[in-house]
């Protein structure tokens, strides 16, 4: 809990991570909007679910990189590893902080997408938020595990997406399927939700168990 509190307080005092993630997601929206052929907004709507997840996963990777970069300053990560608590709690704190930040960014960028691509998200807001949260959960758990790894390799910032994106495929596919069914047909498909739930469970367990090993010096 203390780790979650610490991460959120640090974030609140500087707000750099949140601002960076949100700005980045917004820029992705703009780039994707510009990439769509002119005058094709109605046709482009079918791609919005996929584009949303592109923006979310990229922003997530950006935030996760920062989450451990700040621990590296002043060797805070070693101090964290020495904390007299179960490493699992440190993991939960870090992952939850990233999860909450990502949720905020998801909400903001979903709004931006709705404006850019002329979509009415209000009727599906609640289930969409649920799907986004499930995806963010998977991304934050496995991302926290590999964020802690990537930050201690050479090419830190480059390493995380290389490690993370191939592993995120089940989250992305489940998320994109569920989101597109929601946005285009207004229904929540159970198979996609099932996939997201199972993936979240697997990622949470694997990350929780492996984090112990990763934090050792």
């Amino acid at each position: 809990m203390a780790v979650l509190w610490k991460d959120l307080v640090t974030e609140w005092r500087s707000r750099d991570r949140l601002v960076a993630m949100a700005m980045f997601a917004l820029l992705v929206v703009i780039v994707l909007y510009l990439a769509a052929p002119p005058g094709s907004v109605p046709e482009a709507q079918a791609h919005v679910p996929g584009l949303l997840w592109v923006a979310w996963s990229f922003a997530g990777v950006l935030g996760l990189n920062r989450a451990f970069a700040i621990e590296l300053e002043n060797e805070a990560i070693s101090t964290l590893a020495l904390a007299p608590v179960d490493r699992g709690w440190i993991f939960l704190g870090k992952a939850l902080a990233s999860f909450l930040l990502l949720l905020a960014v998801q909400a903001a960028s979903a709004l931006a997408f709705a404006l850019a691509f002329d979509l009415d998200l209000r009727p599906v807001a609640v289930p969409l938020a649920g799907v986004a949260a499930l995806g963010a959960f998977g991304l934050s758990t496995i991302g926290t595990l590999f964020g802690a790894i990537a930050v201690r390799t050479q090419y830190r910032e480059v390493m995380l997406p290389l490690l993370l994106l191939p592993l995120l495929v089940p989250v992305l596919l489940g998320g994109v399927r569920a989101t597109s069914a929601l946005l285009l047909e207004g229904v929540l498909p159970w198979p996609a939700l099932q996939l997201l739930l199972v993936t979240d469970g697997v990622f949470a367990i694997v990350s929780f168990l492996c984090f112990e090993v990763v934090l050792d010096e």
């Binding site: 590999f146 290389l162 490690l163 191939p166 990350s207 090993v213």
Partner: protein
Amino acid sequence: MSSSAAWKRASAVSLAVAASLWAWWVLRAPVDATQGLIQKVLYVHVPCVLGAYLGFAVTALGGLLYLVRHEERFDRLAAAAAEVGVLFCSLVLLTGPIWAKGTWGRWWSWDLRLTLTLLLYLIYVSYLLLRSFTEGSERAARFAAVYAIAGAPVMLLNYFAIDLAGGRTVHPENLGSGSLGAGMGMPFALGMLTALAAFAHLLVRRLEVGGLRAELDRLEAEAERA
């Protein structure tokens, strides 16, 4: 050392025997009535899949054993299997499109098995990158083991994920039993055997390199202390 030399000899001999028998049977195998000569890619393509998946299973297992037992030899096993597996996976991804162009008329299709194999390939290339970008062999071993262990369930999940995406289309479902024409079973089986022998031989050789490297590191450390 002598036991590893024995392994090396045994795997080399079985590889040579299996490969020559295989080559002979592939030459003699009947030409496919509908696909023609290009169907013979089968005898290379499918056996390589065996090597690819075997390599990745051994990598995950080696990683797991390393985390549990903390013995360096398990890490060497995982690293060796990953490299050999990537080699086989590359061959799968090279021979597949050649066959596909000849029969389906295009190089690639995003169906279940193709996507799955490509993802497997990407995961393990990232695995090798992680190994080479991490300083300190102990740390690299630990990080790599975690990645290999996380990669294994993801491959299972990917199977369902891509299935969900409606990717089950062009690729034949089951080549194993009954779907092969007369006279094609034997070269196919020999191909599988050859892949197995090649996998074993390459793994043994790569393990030897890993062992020598570790020995060199040990001696250098010793020399530095002296």
